[in-house]
Amino acid sequence: MQSIVAKDLTKQFGDFTAVNHINFSVEKGEIFGFLGANGAGKTTAIKMMSGLLLPTSGDAIVGGYSIRTDSKQIKRHIGYMSQRFSLYNDLTIFENMQLFGTVYGIPAKELKDRIHQSLSKLKMDDQANSLVASIPLGWKQKLAFATAILHRPEIVFLDEPTSGVDPIVRREFWKLIYQAAASGITIFVTTHYMDEAEYCHRISIMAEGSLKLIGTPSELKQQMGVDTIDDVFVKFVKR
């Protein structure tokens, strides 16, 4: 079953084409890595697929709904974690999760249970009542991820979730991603860390608004005749 199908998805801002006729599909439960240099159009593509931005032409079917006509429905079925940390710093961890959980219509009692479950998974039970402003960045990112999947979405979009985070927390973060994928959530993730790209089931590389390469990490390495995804990326960008 396919979670995302993009068909000629295009976005223009005036004369500038940020995303140029991209086509791809993502399977349910897949971890799909979305790579590309800064300004390649990754964030624009994610914003379109999560219903924040309307495409200029083309369409994408996300969780069975068209982003052109059903963006309201899509919002119920996805989670989103933006490039910027965007939980409320002046609310506690519990209050943040309660706010977003309520917004997705999770019944109060169940919401409480789910928050405690996910906090204990993060080993943050004892911090439920501390202000988000007071916890370190790495923890904030894990928290934002936990909040984004609290309502058990079909797909979660992660826009550079690990930028600025130390290697240990990054590894922990990817453990969480694997757990989520194992429970059936499709993961659509952008990153600049090529070691992370190796963890993905499939990756794609974007440049100048177009999708240039797509395949499993080993396929791409073979195709380019190199040993690491890092080399794939460098070779590709230099070309």
Binding site: L52, L54, K72, S82, S86, L87, D90, T102
Partner: protein, 372 residues
Amino acid sequence: MRVILMLIKKEFLQVFRSPLLLSILIVAPMVQFILFPFTADYEIKVLDIAFIDNDNSTLSHNLINEFSASKHFRSKGIIDSKSYADKLMKADKIDFLVEIPLDFEKHLICQDGTTIAITANAINTVKAGIGCGYVQTVIGDYLKEISENTGLTTLSNTAQLFTTNIYWYNEQMNYRNLIVPGILVILVTLIGAYVTALNLVREKEIGTIEQINVTPIKKWQFLLGKMIPFWILGMAEFILGLILMKIIFGINVQGSIPALLCITAIYLLVMLGLGFFISAVSENQLQAMFIVFFLFIVFVLLSGLFTPTEGMPEWAEKINYLNPMSFYMEVIKKMVLKGCQWADLKYQTIVLSVMAVILNSAAMLSYKDSSK
């Protein structure tokens, strides 16, 4: 419903965790009430006055003594030359110069008329105008006194037409009675427009609004979740203002308090709508602040707080039809000082309601939860 309640809870939690905002909400009205009415006062306490006495007679001396005895004037003495008087006035040493002509006494006794020259330093026109009134009063009282003492009846007839003034609704002509209710208006306006505009733009700036926008929250839910808390805060602020007004200045609301609260509630909706509209079209807090500040100054100047609206040119009066503050200012003055009731303020209530609907619709339409 659960979503809106949650949003309201979130907003209150944030307000009460922000010590700065909270102290602004509580301290601002107190400072304004304590400071403002005493600074914005048209009653002039002491005017510096000098005299040129060309007559040097008993009657001219007596006149000068009258000024010295008045609590409004501080005599800087009798000076000899006009040029020295000019110098004093240029140096801001005196506000008024009274020049008594030669043969002042003789003309008074003969009752054939004479002229006293009053020169005022009109850098501050208000001060000059009011001061001239004081000078004339002193001279008038003096002439009346002479006529009573000497029996020169025609003197008082020709020189003075005595008037008695009764000021309705503000018997002591106390400027504070006007300015204090005006401060209430300013308070409500600031909470309504300023605090809400900044609050919403701040969410844009730090990016939390993006997180809200990817959720199924509907536009109207989000705006209501913002509106209700600030509406409650605004009403609380207004009631705090009414209490301070009573405690500090002893001003009681003469009209119907329920009606006053109702109209204030509507006015707050106007200002909330304006604040949201501004935040929807601004990119950051700085822009929002400039827009609100600009509108605020225009609103206040046109509102009739400092100068009567009747004295404005016709075009300014027409602009005032778009100024919600001028309608509300009228309501406040009439309610607090004059004791008007609902029925007297129907027109203002309707206008404010229409404005509330228009501005909030504009805010709804311009707030984007997804962009094109």
